[in-house]
């Protein structure tokens, strides 16, 4: 009897482990549109309304926990915010003068066509979030019928949040800036030097702006904004000038400089986001048409100039 129980227990364990390994191998080996991915998306379609309902029903509980945490942090945040207000007032005065100049330049090159509103933002509610540090993903309640597509940028009121990586009828999956697969072309607000923003591994509160020229100067508190291109094989465009975060410190390196960046968007507490659903090709064609309108002799080669022009727009 005892032998039978032991044998059964070991067989069950072996079966479960083998089944897990088979699932893991099959899932990892198949394409994104494969059968297991399809099962996963079908499951998401089924549970999405439940998640949505549970999310709304449990919001008071979440808010209660959030309120307790916020209370502890409130004093420190107040002092920090007072300093920021004083600094922002000073920057506002300087910024207003710069704004007039920038508006004239933007009007000259018609770059206002590349504003965020031109990307048809679609508001979405976050209905699910991965709990561990390896999967920086959230699930939103807007999908393909709303015009959401893979690689669409996702923003909130504070800045860039991430990009869409999977879309279904009832929802979509969004990789956050802190996901290991993310890479966003960016630059420091006062500098023209561009680099790639990537997550700092193991630290969900920090990003790294890498591959900056060694002589780049980066001051603490400076804003890091999108330069207009992403470092993915699709080469789709983010709108230029979206705030990604603020510089917190510089790293000492030899060939390239990198700086630590604190994300502007609070990625731990996302409730409502906006998906910029305008096609990337539309933005690219906008750029091409703008390049075509440049005076003769200034029309540069297509790709590099498109990125350069987007970077110029970011300054505006």
């Amino acid at each position: 009897m005892y032998d039978k129980t032991v044998r059964r227990r070991r067989i069950v364990l072996a079966l479960l482990v083998v089944l897990s390994l088979l699932l893991l191998t099959a899932y990892f080996g198949e394409a994104h549109g494969g059968r297991l991915h399809g099962v996963q998306r079908a499951f998401l379609t089924v549970v999405s309304p439940i998640q949505d309902g549970a999310n709304k029903a449990l919001k008071p509980v979440r808010d209660l926990f959030g309120w307790v945490g916020d209370t502890f942090n409130a004093k420190g945040q107040r002092n920090e915010l007072r300093k920021q207000v004083a600094q922002l007032r000073r920057e506002l005065v300087a910024g207003q003068a710069e704004k007039r100049t920038d508006q004239q330049l933007a009007g000259l090159f018609h770059l206002n066509q590349l504003g965020v509103s031109a990307y048809h933002p679609v508001a979405a509610t976050v209905v699910g979030k991965s709990p561990n540090i390896w999967y920086s993903v959230v699930t939103i309640d807007k999908g393909s019928p709303d015009g959401v597509r893979v690689n669409d940028p996702v923003v909130n009121g504070e800045g860039l949040v991430g990009k869409v990586v999977a879309v279904e009828a009832d929802g979509a999956q969004v990789d956050l800036l802190t996901d290991s697969t993310m890479g966003v072309s960016a630059r420091i607000g006062t500098s023209n030097a561009t680099g790639i923003v990537q997550p700092k591994v193991g630290d969900p509160n920090t990003l790294l702006l890498q591959y900056l020229p060694a002589n780049t100067r980066a001051n603490k508190g400076e804003y890091v904004v999108t330069s207009g291109t992403v470092a993915s094989p699709d080469d789709s465009l983010y709108p230029p000038g979206l705030v990604i975060g603020q510089v917190t410190s510089e790293n000492e390196e030899s060939a390239y400089k990198s700086v630590n960046v604190r994300p502007a968007a609070n990625l731990h507490n996302l409730d409502v986001v906006e998906v910029l659903t305008a096609p990337a090709h539309g933005a690219a064609s906008n750029l091409k048409s703008l390049i075509a309108t440049l005076p003769a002799g200034q029309s540069p080669s297509t790709t590099a100039s498109g990125e350069a022009l987007a970077s110029t727009g970011a300054g505006g």
């Binding site: 482990v17 897990s20 390994l21 549970a54 926990f65 709990p131 591994v201 630290d203």
Partner: protein, 192 residues
């Protein structure tokens, strides 16, 4: 109540608990970071199911909860199942071999489950080819994650035990132990 009815009731309670905990985790707990860390209730649930119900049900519950988490969060299918199966089985074997009764048992089992879960995730991710250096920050996150999950382990154990206790079959060893004390066989008072 027959034995088959009893185990069906136990399985139903474990299944209901798993669904509630996973959705509560996704909807609430993941949204409330503690010291910058998100508490993960799922490995704690699996470990305590194993600790209360044995290795077989612990392993099956671990596989099912892991699959549910992977499906709901669009994660790599089978990864969480594998780790949680081992956690559930291990905690069940702990009960079957040692039957720990100390008050600190849930705390230690919770800490171990959190550690296995976090380290297991990291190792599997490296094995699957995530291009990432082992940084001090990663180690800090793992240590903080274990500490925070350990703090949550005690109330989590109380909840799991309260839900499952009515359907748990009585352990013969515990029954013998209780009878021995209540009938005076081993009681120190009886020798006085």
């Amino acid at each position: 109540m027959s034995s088959s009815t009893g185990s069906a009731g136990l399985i139903a309670r474990v299944a209901a608990l798993a669904v509630v905990v996973v959705f509560f985790q996704i909807g609430v707990v993941s949204e409330v970071p503690v010291f910058g860390i998100n508490v993960d209730l799922s490995p704690l649930l699996v470990a305590f199911v194993g600790l209360l119900c044995g290795s077989m049900l612990g392993a099956v519950a671990g596989f099912a909860v892991g699959l549910l988490v992977d499906l709901a969060l669009l994660q790599t299918l089978g990864l969480t199942s594998l780790i949680f199966t081992l956690i559930g089985y291990w905690s069940g074997r702990l009960r079957e071999l040692r039957d720990p009764q100390a008050a600190l048992t849930p705390l230690l089992v919770g800490a171990a489950a959190a550690a296995v879960s976090l380290v297991g995730y990291s190792l599997m991710e490296f094995l699957l080819g995530v291009d990432a250096p082992v940084s001090f920050e990663l180690l800090r996150q793992i240590v903080l994650g274990v500490v925070v999950n350990t703090v949550v382990a005690v109330p989590m154990y109380a909840i799991v035990r309260r839900v499952l206790i009515g359907a748990l079959p009585e352990d013969p060893r515990r029954r013998r132990r209780r009878r021995a004390y209540t009938t005076g066989g081993l009681s120190p008072l009886s020798r006085a």
